[in-house]
C-alpha cells in the first residue's frame, strides 16, 4: 500500500510537471493575438441579412438541424417526435419521419442524401433510409450509456456519435457495431465536428475542454482549455487548421490547431446568454452563433467584433447551419420555427 501511494505521488508530480511544461510551451509561441494581427484586414461593416423564409411545421421545440450536401434539402428534429426533411427553396416538406422516442437532441444528413440519423435521451442513434417509399429504420445503434448529443455521417457506412456518457464513437453501419470508442473527456460530450479531410474530428464537452482526435487511431491528439463552462457547439474553420467553440460561459473562442491554443475570444459585456450553436460562412470570416437570448449574433472571426444579429425567434436559438454553397444561414429555435436568412 505504501508502495502504491509512493507511485501515485510520483505520477501526480509528473502530471503537474507536464502540465506546467505544456503551458510554458504554449506561452512560448504566443507572440501576439489574432485581433491585433487582424488590424490590417478589411472591415466587413454591418452584416444585415434578411429573413427569407419561416418554416412552420414542427409542434414543439426544435433541437437540431442539418443541411444536405445539395445545399437545398435540410432535416430538422423536434421534441414533437418528428424529423422533417425540407426543400428550402420552396419551403415544402418532403419527408416526415416519426420517432420512437420524442426526446431527440441531434439530427444529421448523410452526404449521399439517402440517410438521416437522430438520437437523444434514448441513448441511441437511429439511422433511417428516407429514399424508400416511406422512411425505413435501417439501424438502431445502441451502446452508449448516456444521451446522444450529436451525430455526423462519414458516409452511408460509417457514422460518428457524441454522448452524455463522455465518449464519442465511430460506428460501422453495415454491422451496427462500434468500431472505435474515443475516451478522454471527463464530462458529457455535447458536440463534434469532422475535419475537412475526415482524418480527425474535434469534440466539445461539459468538462469545458475541446479535444482533437485521430479518427482512425482512436487517440486524443490535443486538448484545448480556456472556457469556464460547458462547450455546447464546435465547428472547424474551413481550412481545417482552426476551430470555433460556443459555451455556456457566454463566449465563443477560436483555437488554432498548430499553435495548440486559443487565439481569440468572442464576447460582449452585454451578452449574458449561453451559446447553444454555431456555424461559419464559407470563407470563415463570419461566425453565426445562436444564444439563449433568442438571437443569433454574427461575429467577425478575425477582428472579434459583433457585426450583426439575426432577430426574429421567440425563444432560444438551438441550432444553426450554413449549407455547402454558403448561400444562406438557417436558424432553428425552441419556438418551433426554422428561419432562412441571407
Amino acid at each position: 500500500m505504501a508502495a502504491d501511494k509512493a507511485e501515485m505521488d510520483v505520477l501526480k508530480k509528473e502530471c503537474d510537471g507536464l502540465r506546467t511544461q505544456i503551458e510554458a510551451a504554449r506561452k512560448g509561441v504566443n507572440d501576439g493575438n489574432m485581433s491585433s494581427a487582424a488590424g490590417s484586414a478589411t472591415d466587413v461593416g454591418r452584416v444585415q441579412l434578411k429573413l427569407r423564409k419561416s418554416l412552420k411545421g414542427h409542434l414543439a421545440k426544435i433541437y437540431s438541424m442539418h443541411w444536405a450536401s445539395d445545399s437545398r434539402s435540410m432535416v430538422s428534429a423536434s421534441q414533437d417526435g418528428k424529423l422533417l426533411v425540407w426543400d428550402t427553396h420552396t419551403g415544402n416538406k418532403l419527408v416526415a419521419v416519426p420517432l420512437k422516442s420524442a426526446w431527440v437532441m441531434s439530427v444529421a444528413f448523410a452526404p449521399s442524401g439517402n440517410l438521416v440519423a437522430s438520437g437523444g435521451l434514448d441513448n441511441m442513434c437511429t439511422v433511417y433510409n428516407i429514399k424508400a417509399a416511406s422512411p425505413k429504420t435501417l439501424r438502431e445503434l445502441d451502446a452508449h450509456t448516456g444521451y446522444l448529443s450529436c451525430c455526423r455521417f462519414l458516409s452511408d457506412t460509417e457514422i460518428m456519435t457524441a454522448s452524455g456518457d463522455t465518449t464519442c464513437c465511430l460506428w460501422d453501419l453495415e454491422t451496427g457495431k462500434q468500431k472505435i470508442i474515443f475516451t478522454n473527456h471527463i464530462g458529457d460530450c455535447m458536440s463534434l465536428a469532422l475535419s475537412p479531410d475526415e482524418n480527425t474530428f474535434i469534440s466539445g464537452a461539459c468538462d469545458s475542454l475541446a479535444k482533437l482526435w485521430d479518427l482512425r487511431e482512436g487517440t486524443c491528439k490535443q486538448t484545448f482549455s480556456g472556457h469556464t463552462s460547458d462547450i455546447n457547439a464546435i465547428q472547424f474553420f474551413p481550412n481545417g487548421n482552426a476551430f470555433v467553440t460556443g459555451s455556456d460561459d457566454c463566449s465563443c473562442k477560436m483555437y488554432d490547431l498548430r499553435s495548440d491554443q486559443e487565439v481569440i475570444t468572442y464576447q460582449d459585456a452585454s451578452l449574458n446568454a449561453g451559446v447553444t450553436s454555431l456555424t461559419l460562412s464559407n470563407s470563415g470570416r463570419l461566425i453565426f452563433a445562436g444564444y439563449d437570448d433568442f438571437n443569433c449574433h454574427i461575429w467577425d472571426s478575425l477582428k472579434g467584433e459583433k457585426v450583426g444579429v439575426l432577430s426574429g425567434h421567440d425563444n432560444r436559438v438551438s441550432c444553426t447551419g450554413v449549407p455547402a454553397d454558403g448561400m444562406g444561414v438557417c436558424t432553428g429555435s425552441w419556438d418551433s420555427f426554422l428561419k432562412l436568412w441571407n
Binding site: 500500500m1 502504491d4 507511485e7 501515485m8 505520477l11 501526480k12 509528473e14 502530471c15 507536464l18 511544461q21 505544456i22 510551451a25 504554449r26 512560448g28 509561441v29 507572440d31 501576439g32 493575438n33 489574432m34 494581427a37 487582424a38 484586414a41 478589411t42 466587413v44 452584416v47 441579412l49 427569407r52 423564409k53 437545398r72 428550402t88 427553396h89 478522454n184 486524443c220 491528439k221 490535443q222 486538448t223 474553420f237 474551413p238 481550412n239 487548421n241 482552426a242 488554432d256 498548430r258 499553435s259 495548440d260 491554443q261 487565439v263 460562412s281 464559407n282 470563407s283 470563415g284 470570416r285 463570419l286 472571426s301 478575425l302 454553397d325 454558403g326 448561400m327 444562406g328 441571407n342
Partner: protein, 72 residues
Amino acid sequence: MSSGMQSSSSMAQARRVVQQLRMEASFERIKVSKASSDLMRYCGEHAKNDPLLMGIPTSENPFKDKKPCTVL
C-alpha cells in the same frame, strides 16, 4: 470492491493521464502570429466566394420567395 482494487484502477487511470500528457507535451507548436496570418490569408482569398459576405443578387437568391404567378 476492496480498497486494493480501487487503488489499482485509479493507478491505471493516473498512468493513462501521464501517458496522454507526455504525448500532448511533445507537440511541435507554431507561433500564434503565423497561425493568425494564415487564417487572415485564407479569409482574404475566399472572401469573393462567400455569398453571405459579398451579398446575393435578387435574381440568384434561392431562398427569396418568387413573385406569385396568375393562371389566366
